[in-house]
Structures are given as structure tokens and as C-alpha cells.
């Protein structure tokens, strides 16, 4: 796994798991890998995975069953919620960049429409 070194690694780990949830690679209610195993797989410090898991609990994405392990929350709704959140992030970043280039809202809309139609007007 390649991580960007200028962004906190625990945040990138959370994003990785979120993406897996959205793509259905892991499902609500699934058990998360143990801290040590996941750290070994990602080649990071176990403390970093621990921090990512703790943060996911704080975000109500995961919870701990004492003595058994950590699980993704058992709500089907989170898949949709995460999908929306992630698409919002992408669109926000896109709009911001287009605004920097001097595009107005109408121009952005027409550019996107054009692109979606395969470049035709």
C-alpha cells in the first residue's frame, strides 16, 4: 500500500476502509482485521492502525465487542452515507479548482455536460 507522506497516515487508513465499505469489499457488521495483522499488511506502525480504529469508533463507523474485536457498525445506511460523503468531497474539490481557474457556476455546468456527452455540444 502506497501512502502519501504529507497527509496523516491514520486518515488515509480510514479512507481506505471507507472505500472498501462503499465498494462492498467489506460489509456493515464485518469484523475488522486485528491491529497487528493490518499494520503488517499495510507496513505501518501498529499504533497508527490503532489510532485509525479509535477515530472510526469516535465517528461511529466502528465499535468494539469486548474480547472479540472491532466491527464495522451494523447499519446498511452507512454505505449510502459514506458514498454521499465521498462524492461530496470530490465534487467540492473539483468546484474549488474550477473556481480558481475563473470558471463561473454556469460554465462549470456546461463543461461537465459537454464532457458527459462525450465532448459533443
Amino acid at each position: 500500500m502506497k501512502f502519501e507522506n504529507h497527509i496523516p497516515i491514520y486518515i488515509q487508513i480510514i479512507d481506505l476502509i471507507k472505500r472498501d465499505i462503499v465498494l462492498g469489499i467489506c460489509k456493515p457488521g464485518d469484523k475488522l482485521q486485528s491491529v497487528r495483522d493490518y499494520a503488517l499488511e499495510l507496513k505501518v506502525n501498529p499504533n497508527t492502525v490503532q489510532k485509525a480504529y479509535q477515530e472510526m469508533e469516535r465517528m461511529s463507523l466502528a465499535y468494539t465487542k469486548r474480547g472479540i474485536g472491532r466491527f464495522i457498525v451494523e447499519e446498511e445506511a452507512i454505505v449510502k452515507k459514506l458514498k454521499h460523503e465521498m462524492s461530496d468531497d470530490i465534487v467540492h474539490a473539483f468546484i474549488e479548482k474550477m473556481n480558481e481557474l475563473g470558471y463561473t457556476s454556469e460554465e462549470i455546468l456546461s463543461t461537465v455536460k459537454k464532457m458527459l456527452n462525450g465532448g459533443k455540444k
Binding site: 507522506n5 499504533n47 497508527t48
Partner: protein, 232 residues
């Protein structure tokens, strides 16, 4: 939890001040990266902490008073040079370590060398630099200690061996251990360290939690390193 505190440490070699009023704390349960260019005082600090070198002044406070034999039992130091006898076989080195260090975990090193693709029958002098580097780290972490001082484990080591060494070190994190690794190869290291200490001309330049530093400065530790030392 604090494993050890260093206060106003000074070390002079003839005309050179290697450590200049150096103060810092090291914590258990973490891997601390000790970073700085050549000659900044990393190895001097490690040698003083492991009892191999005398300080000129200053205090070193462990969580309990330690001296002589007891200090050497609690501190596992890995020098950057090749310190293994070239004529020994890997199996003989393991026997040697077992005789030398109380609580040395023979099984751990045997398991490790299997993963590291080393044979107990090989002679040290026939090993490549990368293989020797892997063996040195495996031997050091198999010691039963509280403070692990690993001096430049990646110097001159090939990328595959580097990955093996990094995996091995990252897996060692535990609440009872304080692991300090020195290097100037920041890029390779930054994924496995919790805290970072920048040492510059024998003084503490900066200490911090790596994830907090990334959030705060929006840059990698590698870039931060370049910024700290750019005028040297």
C-alpha cells in the same frame, strides 16, 4: 509513559562538541525516530545511553536507577558498524548472543531468520551487506530489554532488505518497550515511527508526534527534514 529522560547532556571529543546541552524524553510503547545528518550527534547519544561512552556532564534518568550490568541488561544497542565476528556461522552468533545476554529469545531469532531467508549454516563473512543488516536487527530485537537503540539500520542496505527490516521493527511496538531508531533516510522511515526527534549540531531542534506534525505543517517528515537542515 516515559522510559528515560535526558537533561543537559554534554559530550566533547577534543575540540568538537558532539552533544551540546541536549535534553529530551523518550517514551515507551512508541518508535521514536532520531533524525539528523551525519555528525549531528545521533550515534554519540546512543553510545552514551547504552553505557559505551562517558558523558562529560548532564543527567540521564531512567524510570529506575540503572548502572553497570543492570543498565546493559535493560538497553539493547545495535551499532551501525558490522560488529559480528566474520568467521562465525549464523548459528554460532546465535549461541554467542544467548551466552552473552540474559533472556535472549533464541526461538524468536530462529523464526526471524526463516522469514528473512537466512540460513543458520552460513558464515558471516559470506553474507551480503543486506543479509548482515537483517541478521543484526533480528539479533537485537530478540534481546530482552526495555530500551532498544538501533543505529542506522538501513545504511547501505538494498530496498528488499530495507522493507524486511522495517517490517521487523514495526512489529516490535509494545507498551513495555521504548524503541529508538536513528537514520538520515527519512523517507523510508516515516511510516513506522510515532515520534520524531531532530538533532542538529548536538542540540535538540524539534520533537513531535509525526501524525500531528503532518496535520500541522501539511508536509511529510521528509520535507520537514529538508526544511530543518536546509541551511547546514
Amino acid at each position: 509513559m516515559i522510559a528515560l529522560e535526558v537533561k543537559n547532556l554534554n559530550k566533547r571529543y577534543m575540540f568538537v562538541k558532539a552533544l551540546n546541552d541536549f535534553s529530551v524524553t523518550f517514551e515507551k510503547g512508541k518508535i521514536t525516530g532520531l533524525l539528523g545528518p551525519n555528525g549531528s550527534g545521533k550515534s554519540t547519544l546512543m553510545r552514551i545511553l547504552s553505557g559505551l561512552l562517558q558523558k562529560n556532564s548532564g543527567e540521564i534518568i531512567y524510570d529506575q536507577p540503572l548502572k553497570g550490568k543492570h543498565l546493559k541488561q535493560k538497553v539493547a544497542y545495535m551499532p551501525t558498524e558490522s560488529h559480528l565476528y566474520p568467521w562465525m556461522k549464523v548459528s554460532q552468533v546465535i549461541d554467542f548472543y544467548e551466552d552473552f545476554f540474559e533472556g535472549f529469545d533464541r526461538q524468536k531469532v530462529l523464526d526471524a531468520i526463516k522469514v528473512l531467508e537466512l540460513s543458520p549454516k552460513s558464515t558471516i563473512k559470506t553474507l551480503s551487506t543486506g543479509q548482515r543488516g537483517r541478521l543484526k536487527v533480528a539479533l537485537t530485537i530478540a534481546r530482552k530489554a526495555e530500551l532498544y537503540l538501533i543505529d542506522e539500520p538501513l545504511n547501505g542496505i538494498d530496498p528488499i532488505s530495507r522493507d524486511m527490516i522495517l517490517d521487523m521493527l514495526a512489529a516490535e511496538v509494545s507498551d513495555e518497550k521504548c524503541i529508538v531508531i536513528s537514520s538520515h533516510l527519512v523517507h523510508e522511515f516515516e511510516k513506522i515511527i510515532d515520534d520524531v526527534i531532530f538533532i542538529r549540531k548536538g542540540r535538540l531542534e524539534l520533537k513531535g508526534d509525526v501524525e500531528a506534525l503532518r496535520t500541522e505543517r501539511q508536509m511529510s517528515i521528509h520535507d520537514l527534514y529538508k526544511e530543518v537542515y536546509k541551511n547546514d
